[in-house]
Symmetry: none
Subunit: 208 residues, 4 copies
DNA sequence: AATGAATGAGAGTTCATTCAT
DNA sequence: GATGAATGAACTCTCATTCAT
């Protein structure tokens, strides 16, 4: 039975992994169940046996991914003391997450674009958790006399928007000659220099 | 013959309008040619007769949309003098464009998500034009001793990312109870207060 | 437009005809939409275009068939005077209908077997109409002092059961050597001698 | 080893029982092997191990059922003396069998409807045995000067048709409001009053 | 230009059957 | 004997595209 369970876990893991990839590349409607099965090296019927139909598969894959993200984020922030330090951590953690799971920006963008029609409630929770984390940091900063008064949600949009747009625009930037060299030189990694620049700008914007 | 041409124009206009709507709502793969024909009140075969296949239709619709956008942007910026004034204009113009053509954010997000596979080169040009506009404003500001040194592309991502994320997240925010009231009160319009907040933050970030 | 309509009618007619055949042979679950399309010499998608899904197709086919049956029955009975004459007509008309539409017994048997799960209400009406017709004949006979008191529904089951069982058992009888020659000689036609025998027995049973 | 055999018997018995149920409800094509396994509380692969594929399972189930039926019938008839008494026994025995094994009418109807494609030869034998039993009774009656000359097969169809139609139509009658109350009051049991009515009519029909 | 009908290539899903343990 | 997992061939239904009129 132990073996069975291992096998099952291994199979569902492969399925969800492949699903995440394909959904990120093609979106829900564009994704093909055949393609997911192919990449998971699994018979297509196994997807229905282990998980369910395409919608259920999408929900499962999203949930896995965003749970990881919000949990990692929360864990990371707690380690620092000052609001400024926390804000920096927030930005860098976000950037690193997106570099490590490079399919995430595409999924996020697509879900926003479709008005979140396919997002399970549980994933929305993950989003608001992240938003709340940032909001608290900013309020803390205000209380400590370090930050100016802002609309936290707008700051959130700036940070998250910048990171995701940067990541998601990578392929276009590198493929199209129309983009200037200064842009091309930036590469596709967001953690590191880009995150540092975002950090610099955001901190300058909110600091008293 | 004049009548014919008028009729033709009217028909293609209706088709492209409907296509823009449907593509914005459902994405390329999710859009149905039948649905586009229905909304355009046109026989499905007419789409193929006047415009071509689904891909061609998508390209046409995108082109119309982004040409308008970049033209409007360019026209607007030139009117102001100082770099700071121009930067404000840039932000507000972008916000207004997105409010007026509310399908744009969804399309932009989706195209980014798919690595711009369907974007015609001409549209990429429109994008880089906008980027260049902002870059020049920022350089101008530096030259005039008003702005600090920044990576213009990152500033661009912050502005464009914030505006588009704000707009695109509207439906999710208003639908889901998980979002706090302070967020819900922001509404779905980006021009006006939201744009003012973005302007405030961006200017504070880049100002010397 | 006249031509279009003719074409449409012709196509839907062929589809329903083929559907009736295939459903009669294989039942709802056993019928294949591909097979129906093949026999109707029609592209499979046309079935969905003109009529709808498999269930809708089944309902349509059944309705066509049973409406014809009950209408023909009612029309035929009215022409005769005495209860005895009407009862004879009833039996013979039933027999002839089943000979002319030889797929009917199979469909009736199958629907009974499945508890009428797929029968549209409208078809049930057709059934009760026929039952009422027979009931009235028997009551009339009692009133006129010609028939004994009976349970009309049981008489109905005997007549309808006999005719349908005879017809439906035709293929088995002629295929299997185990049936005695006296049975094989009866053939597969129910109108004619078989109906006459049923008539003889039923009349002897109910006559005073 | 004895235990093994008992276990085996128990398992195959459960499988066949479940199969009979499911085939009666849904027919061959509509029946799901998964469902049969579920109802038999048995792993699906066990069905293949113990019995064979779906067709073999169907044949086995049918055979069990009809062997019981024909054996019980034969046993019962022999006990009586006069042709009239035997004919009564025949009818009542048939009715009781159908009440006790209420899945039988559905199976019989379906097999007739499909032209007996799945009936094993051995089951056909059972059928003809029953038919021969009735035929002999009727001939005996003629020889003894009690019955008129009839076509025994037609009498057979009347009896068997009436009983099976009555039983099989039970669910439809009780479910649909279109049936008159006099019909609804008859209930779903065929042995007892309904059988008595059939007996009365058949005897009146064949008696000299 | 316009229309309704037609086509064919998939897409998602189900299911009988088999395998490995 | 028994189990959960796996397989592959259908099957229903959809959709972009084209045809005939």
């Amino acid at each position: 039975m132990g073996t069975q369970t291992v096998k099952r876990n291994e199979t569902t893991r492969r399925i969800k992994g492949a699903a995440t990839e394909v959904f990120a590349e093609a979106g829900f409607a564009g994704a093909r169940v055949d393609e997911i099965a192919r990449r998971a090296r699994v018979n297509k019927a196994m997807i229905y046996y282990h998980i369910g139909d395409k919608k259920a598969l999408y929900a499962e894959a999203l949930h896995d991914v965003f749970r990881d993200m919000s949990e990692g984020m929360a864990r990371n922030i707690q380690e620092s003391q000052t609001a400024e330090e926390k804000l920096k951590r927030f930005i860098h953690n976000l950037a690193e997450t997106m570099d490590q799971h490079s399919y995430l920006p595409a999924i996020i963008l697509r879900e926003l674009a479709s008005g979140g029609q396919n997002i399970p409630a549980v994933v929305i929770q993950d989003f608001t958790n992240i938003l709340n984390t940032l909001t608290k940091i900013l309020e803390e900063g205000v209380d400590q006399g370090l930050f100016i008064q802002t609309t936290p949600f707008v700051v959130h949009m700036m940070v998250v928007g910048a990171v995701n747009f940067f990541k998601a625009s990578g392929p276009i930037r590198s493929r199209h000659p129309a983009f200037p060299d200064t842009v091309k030189k930036l590469g596709t990694k967001v953690s590191g220099e880009i995150a540092a620049e975002i950090e610099k700008l955001i901190l300058k914007a909110v600091r008293k």
